[in-house]
């Protein structure tokens, strides 16, 4: 330290507003050691004393995909193997996104003891939650890709479009969890409401059915579902090497709107968080 360091000011004003939210997100991101360690601890804790451990993730995923492919494959005009790959990728992506929404509602409430005892940026808990959910997502994706290779699928250059799509997933996780975490901490009904909505999302997102086979009304509903487009930008380049431009445009606007909403709402709410949990 050279000259006198600046004093840190702490008040309702310094903890509120979009700028405080950005500062929180940046400072929290820099504490990667903390959220990685927390996430790993939670993963271990979840499977501690379980004999099969992480194999449960793989097992339940494989069974679910197989059952859907068998039961819903008969309703689809697609080739059986194509449909299996479609379900395998779509389901992994959906579960990851949906998991972010559900975990988001509890992200701060479940970290109450740390929030009330340690002055860390709140975003640390958001990054922890996202990082933890990457383990099952990565595992499922690995199984899907290995299975697809066995079925004769080969990746193309256009498949690399899945990488920015994954980037969009991470950004989605950050703003949606931060926003839902605050709102659900203050209004406890939100968690229940989100639980009800996500069940509907499972049917209105094309995972078990293809848009080609869907009724016009179903297609219209699913077009307004952000998860449809988030799943599509990831699945399409991997599956048939196309870049779904319309879905990317939708995701772009949705992301911008989400970030703007989060900065505004969190700017108002975040200084009150410790009083709600």
């Amino acid at each position: 330290m050279t000259n006198a360091a600046a004093a840190v000011e702490f008040s309702a004003a310094t903890q509120s507003g979009p700028r405080a939210v950005v500062a929180d997100l940046v400072r929290g991101f820099a504490m990667g050691e903390v959220w990685r360690a927390f996430a790993w601890d939670e993963t271990l804790a979840r499977y501690r004393r379980s004999f099969f451990g992480l194999a449960w993730i793989a097992g339940s995923y494989v069974i679910f995909v197989a059952v859907i492919a068998i039961f819903f494959g008969s309703f689809s005009s697609a080739d059986a193997e194509d449909f299996l790959m479609y379900v395998a990728l779509g389901f992994a992506a959906f579960v990851y996104l949906n998991g972010n929404i559900i975990d988001g509602c509890a992200v701060f409430v479940n970290s109450a003891t740390w929030i009330k005892s340690t002055p860390m940026p709140y975003s640390v808990y958001v990054y922890k939650s996202i990082f933890r959910s990457l383990t099952p997502f990565g595992l499922e994706l690995l199984i899907a890709l290995i299975g697809m290779l066995v079925l004769g699928w080969r990746p193309s250059v256009a498949a690399l479009w899945a990488v920015p799509a994954f980037g969009a997933y991470l950004v989605f996780g950050v703003w949606s969890q931060y926003l839902l975490g605050l709102v659900a901490a203050r209004f406890r009904d939100v968690g229940h409401l989100v639980g009800a909505v996500t069940r509907i999302l499972f049917f209105t997102t094309p995972i078990m059915w293809t848009e080609a086979d869907a009724q016009p009304i179903v297609r219209t509903i699913s077009d307004f579902n952000p998860l449809t487009h988030l799943v599509e930008i990831f699945r399409a380049p991997l599956l048939n090497a196309t870049v779904p431009v319309e879905s990317w445009i939708f995701v772009g606007w949705f992301t911008l709107a989400g970030i703007a909403l989060t900065l505004t709402v969190a700017g108002v709410m975040r200084a009150r968080l410790p009083f709600w949990i």
Partner: protein, 248 residues
């Protein structure tokens, strides 16, 4: 330069759910800390009201006050955990606090793992934590229990671990709540010695406790809180004497 300044700090805890109030109690005069909204429902508890204090190098402050007087809340505000509704806190220096030994620990994880986690959470690098590990291990005297999950610890053992971690990284500002009294005689003597070493290095100590000896051993100044407001501020022996006469 180390300093810790609170300017007109006020804080209300909002209440969203409330135990049923007896009919006859409605309309009666409430405790001044209970804030009523429209319709007489109690909507908040005024935990702190216009609290100001200013501490500099070598100041060791005792927080005095009865249960519910706002001691812990004030510590939480000074630490940067609870943003005050009014007023502000300005601090200069690395601060560490232990406000509740049951919070901020992973109980499923081992003592060693918690040393790492707490160190990281306080913003220290892994290399720095490893540097300090042997010192923490020696000071807390928990031996092989450091490899056991925290669920196997007694409250005194938890306190030893918390205190050892909190003081190992040479904080410049140390804020401690009540819990220190759970330690046995031997550890309390050791802790007092370490706190004095720490204060000799020109730090700031804020200690909330009901333990007379603990406060006299460690503090030179005192702040007396009553129902969330500053009742008096002064030299510790004097203020403690007056506080005890009033309580008697």
């Amino acid at each position: 330069m180390v300093s810790l300044i609170a300017e007109n700090v006020s804080l209300r805890f909002p209440i969203y759910s409330q135990a049923q109030i007896y009919e006859h109690a409605v309309g009666d005069a409430h405790d001044a800390r209970l804030i009523s909204g429209a319709g007489g429902r109690i909507i908040a508890v005024q935990a702190l009201k216009e609290v100001s204090l200013s501490l500099g190098e070598g100041d060791r402050l005792a927080l005095l006050g009865r249960n519910g007087s706002g001691k812990t809340t004030l510590l939480q505000v000074l630490t940067g955990i609870l943003p005050p509704g009014g007023g502000r806190v300005r601090s200069l220096g690395r601060a560490t606090s232990i406000i509740n030994i049951n919070l901020g620990m992973q109980f499923e994880a081992s003592g060693h793992r918690n040393i790492t986690l707490r160190g990281l959470a306080a913003g220290y690098s892994r290399a720095r934590i490893e540097e300090k590990r042997s010192e923490i291990v020696a000071f807390c005297e928990l031996g092989e229990f450091l490899d056991m999950p925290l669920t196997t610890y007694s409250s005194g053992m938890l306190m030893r671990l918390s205190f050892s971690i909190a003081t190992a990284f040479d904080p410049q500002i140390l804020l401690l709540d009540e819990w220190l009294s759970t330690g046995d005689e031997a550890f309390r003597a050791k802790a007092t010695k370490r706190m004095q070493e720490f204060v000799n290095k020109a730090g700031i100590l804020v200690l909330a406790s009901h333990n007379r000896q603990l406060l006299l051993d460690n503090c030179n100044k005192a702040l007396w809180l009553e129902k969330g407001e500053v009742k008096a501020f002064g030299e510790v022996t004097e203020l403690l004497g007056e506080y005890e006469r009033r309580a008697a």
